[in-house]
């Protein structure tokens, strides 16, 4: 479905992404991890068309999408949710999702009809149901709790019926219980929708629990890749994390 | 017509309740306070922004004229009330406030104190509503000279560009001949009045003295704060004489900034707008010997009427009369005299019939100013040119131009323009 080959990106003197090659099979759930500044978000920005790589290929659904604008990439079927929820503060949950469904249906230019359009209704309700936000459907986005805003952000991405979904730290800024609830939902969505999902995550417990495959980035390069068990035992990874993040060592210890 | 509908609507307003009351109550306080016998004079003019003095000095004059009549007991027992309204110099606003003055405040007569484009907007309104109107500040010739603009109830009581051009041209030609001024340049504000005024001046200067050659024409923006680039350009071109249609605050700045370069030491200066007391007194270092058209002067024409006008004016205003002041004062005299003749009847066609061809003595005395019957514009007003001196009365040695000569050339000009 998605395959990255020899991706390279420099910002002036900073070499943010170094020769990264990863395959993401169709329908997989993959985690991208790495210490702060490892270039995880840059990696997302490169494949979603926000930045243009200096070299390398991004093969999506059989075609190289390097050089396509983020808009074109979205329309091909790759959407993303953000580390800090990117939502539409003054719209209600229903309005925001329905407007996005309309965008997906390519009906954004419709002047002659009224807003809640019939053909978008079922899909909107389905997504809200899936997110578990039914009781907050009429709430303004900016009045949602932090966790619900993150959910809505993901819901907006889902409204585009993506083949590939990029999630940048879906659990950022949440308490421990909320994290598990959130990631449970992500896993559920993945199972229901049968999408290819990539997510960036800091919480190792979560990563090891749900990811089918894990890729570790450090200084923009792939440090290690494999299943949870392989990564857990990888000495490079342990070394990389010990300096910066003791959480991993705790996680390793527990396991 | 307006009278009866006004009465009805007022009663209905009083009865009408609810939300519409606010909208419909327009101007009601004014009407309520006024007596039915009062004759209302509407004065749309510019009271804010850079040319506010145009409006304020006009208003002083109109108020002065009608207060004098009120003190003398009014006309046929009817007194006058002047209602002024600021258009902020916006033509659409001028049209709107004029309609308001007529329809809402119940003004019987409009004295239009708008400049250039505003006066054309007012013109359309009064033509539409058939109210008596006297334009008092617009000097644009076409306002009355163009027969398409003619309306039987509308007059101009203001100097007209073409009259000034003939007078200025003949005066300039005379000086040019005496002093051998052949190389001329102009420096006028870049808008219709500035361009027309300058072109007409040059046209007649050349008629009277064909050897005049125009070496350069500069067009600084209207209301530009700084004229340095025009002044230094003039210094490069080195003309023997400069004509300028600059006026008001722009002219004050131009003269003072030119002084810094000593521009007038070697260059004769002819100004269409300098001879106005507030300008002459605002300039701190008024150079001697600048040539200027008459705008107003308390010593010219020398007559008891003029002195009386000036004395009365400075009692109510903080400065001497402006050009706009005498024009408005004269316009008021036309209105007053017409009302005298109709015994206070404010019907616009009756008044218009009286004003056509009327001559008023105030404010200049002598033979008086005449409202020409054929095109509803005044003649026989002072169109002299004089020279500046550094202290009061600021301009002396006025040289008159024969009105017969002006009228004759004006006729030819009209033919040329296709107006007659």
């Amino acid at each position: 479905m998605l395959s990255v080959q020899n991706l390279d990106k420099r910002f002036g003197g900073v070499h943010a992404t170094r020769n990264v090659s990863i395959d993401f099979p169709d329908g997989s759930l993959t985690a991208i991890i790495g210490p702060n500044g490892a270039g995880k978000t840059t990696f997302f920005n490169l494949i979603s068309g926000a930045f243009r790589p200096n070299s390398g290929k991004v093969i999506f659904d059989g075609q190289d999408i390097v050089g396509k604008s983020s808009l074109e990439v979205v329309r091909l079927g790759m959407t993303r949710a953000f580390q800090v929820a990117e939502i539409f503060p003054s719209l209600t949950v229903t309005e925001a999702i329905m407007a996005t469904v309309i965008s997906h249906l390519r009906k954004s230019w419709t002047f002659l009809r009224r807003f809640p359009v019939a053909e978008a209704k079922a899909r909107t309700e389905e997504i809200i149901e899936l997110l578990g936000l039914a009781d907050k459907a009429g709430t303004l986005s900016r009045n949602l709790s932090h966790g619900d805003q993150k959910l809505l952000d993901i819901g907006l991405a889902l409204a585009m019926e993506p083949k590939v979904l990029l999630l940048d730290e879906p659990t950022a800024g949440m308490g421990p219980d909320e994290r598990w609830r959130m990631i449970g939902k992500v896993q559920h969505l993945w199972q229901v929708k049968k999408m290819t999902v990539l997510f960036i995550e800091h919480d190792m417990d979560i990563v090891f629990k749900i990811a089918q495959k894990i890729h570790v980035l450090k200084y923009g390069a792939v440090l290690a890749q494999g299943t949870a068990n392989e990564i857990r035992r990888n000495q490079d990874v342990i070394d990389a994390y010990l300096g910066a993040d003791h959480h991993l060592s705790a996680a390793v210890g527990e396991a | 017509m307006t009278k009866t509908t006004k009465g009805i609507s007022r009663r209905r307003v009083l009865k009408g309740a609810g939300a519409m009351a606010g909208l419909a109550a327009f101007g009601a306080p004014h009407i309520a306070g006024a007596q039915a016998k009062v004759i209302k004079i509407g004065l749309p003019t510019i009271l804010s922004g850079r040319v506010a003095i145009l409006g304020t000095s006009s208003r002083f004059a109109v108020q002065l004229a009608f207060n004098q009549i009120n003190e003398a007991g009014g006309i046929n027992g009817r007194k006058f009330e002047v209602v002024d309204r600021d258009s902020k110099g916006r033509p659409d606003e001028a049209a709107k406030v004029t309609r308001d003055l007529i329809n809402n405040d119940g003004c019987d007569i409009i004295v239009d104190g708008e400049a250039s484009s505003g006066s054309f907007a007012v013109h359309e309104v009064v033509r539409d509503l058939g109210i008596l109107c006297l334009h008092t500040c617009s000097e644009t010739s076409s306002l009355t000279a163009d027969p398409k603009q003619f309306s039987k109830n509308v007059f101009r009581c203001a100097r007209q560009g073409i009259h000034d051009a003939v007078a200025g041209g003949s005066y300039a030609a005379k000086i040019a001949k005496e002093k051998g001024l052949k190389k001329w340049a102009t420096c006028s504000p870049d808008y219709a009045y500035g361009r027309d005024n300058t072109a007409e001046f040059l046209q007649y200067a050349k008629v009277f003295e064909p050897s005049i050659e125009v070496v350069d024409q500069l067009w600084p923006k209207l209301f530009a704060p700084d004229y340095t680039e025009s002044i230094t350009k003039l210094m490069q071109v080195k003309p023997q004489a400069v004509y300028s249609a600059l006026w008001g605050g722009d002219l004050v700045a131009f003269i003072e900034q030119s002084n810094l370069y000593r521009l007038f030491q070697n260059t004769a200066y002819f100004s269409g707008g300098l001879g106005d007391p507030p300008i002459l007194t605002a300039i701190k270092n008024l150079p001697q010997g600048l040539n200027t058209a008459y705008r107003y002067n308390n010593g010219f024409p020398s007559s008891p009427e003029n002195t009386a006008f000036c004395d009365a004016y400075v009692k109510v205003a903080p400065h001497e009369p402006t050009n706009w002041a005498w024009q408005n004062y004269a316009a008021s005299q036309f209105i007053i005299e017409a009302l005298r003749r109709t015994n206070g009847n404010t019907d616009s066609s009756a008044l218009a019939k009286e004003i056509s061809g009327m001559t008023v003595k105030k404010p200049f005395g002598g033979a008086g100013i005449t409202m020409r019957d054929s095109d509803h514009t005044i003649i026989n007003y002072p169109v002299a040119w004089g020279k500046t001196v550094s202290k009061s009365p600021w301009v002396v040695d006025y040289v008159d131009t024969e009105w017969s000569k002006i009228v004759e050339l004006e006729k030819e000009w009209k033919k040329e323009k296709g107006y007659a």
Binding site: - | L47, S48, G49, R50, A52, I53, G55, T56, L218, W219, K221, F223, A224, P225, D226, T228, E229, S230, T232, K233, M235, Q236, G248, G249, D250, V252, A253, E256, Q257, N259, L260, Y261, R262, P278, I279, A282, I283, K284, N285, P318, H319
Partner: protein
Amino acid sequence: MNLEALASCLSSSACAVTQISTALIIGMLLFMVASGLSLIFGVLGVINFAHGAFYMAGAYIAFFTYQATSSFLLAFLAGALGAGLIGVIFERFIISKVYGKDILMQLLVCYAIILIFDDLVKIIAGPEYKMMGMPDVFALPPLEFAGGFVPAYYVFMIVASLLIGAMLWLAIEKTRIGKIIRALAINPQMVGALGINTTLLYAAVFGVGSMLAGIAGSLAAPTRTLTPGMGLSILIESFIVTVIGGMGSIVGALIAALLIGFTRAFGAIGFPLFVDGIMFGMMAVVLIVKPSGLLGREIAR
């Protein structure tokens, strides 16, 4: 269009000197106004549409002081400090209430101030034209440089503006307080966290910005006509300067002001009809190519 005249002017030293000095005269006064605008925007993120009102205030205060004391020095100081003081008051009681609000609120507040100031001036000084007149010190014949003439007062004006601009630049780039102000522009929370009174600093910066407008006003008072509404006439040009130079950049304002000055001074000789079009054109091109201006940085807010 008369490029021949332009070429011949450039080849004659008298003409070139006079026109270059003209460019400087126009440019430096514009620089004084625009640098204040730019400073306020750079640090406070506020587009001060009422800047012209402070220019007018400075000019009128200088005018009245000169009438009372006949001292140009006093008039100049009073104009500058008076405008600065009004600026501080305006900042404290009015504009600070709309910091961080959308730009329309700021626009509206400034519009209100313009309306109020114009009417206040009309009430206090009347609608008549006022002219301060040239102080005796400068009542000299124009100075001659290589055949070109520059009036003594304008020499003073150019030098004074340059000095003030240089002082401003040094204060911002080389002093401790300047460093704090630059930090304030980028990260006000951090500056506040360091225990520095940001409220006071904001007021001070706004005061200095208004003072620059007041300086321009009092420098202009001896040669320009004072009327209500005079602030409007310089507003658009100083906006063009700030946009071209880059909002927040003092040096950018200087470069852009001189650019406008030279365009006008030499445009008057070579292409008088196109001067306006060229000025708007430059602004449009800069906005399209580099929206933040020649030397500006992208706004963070």
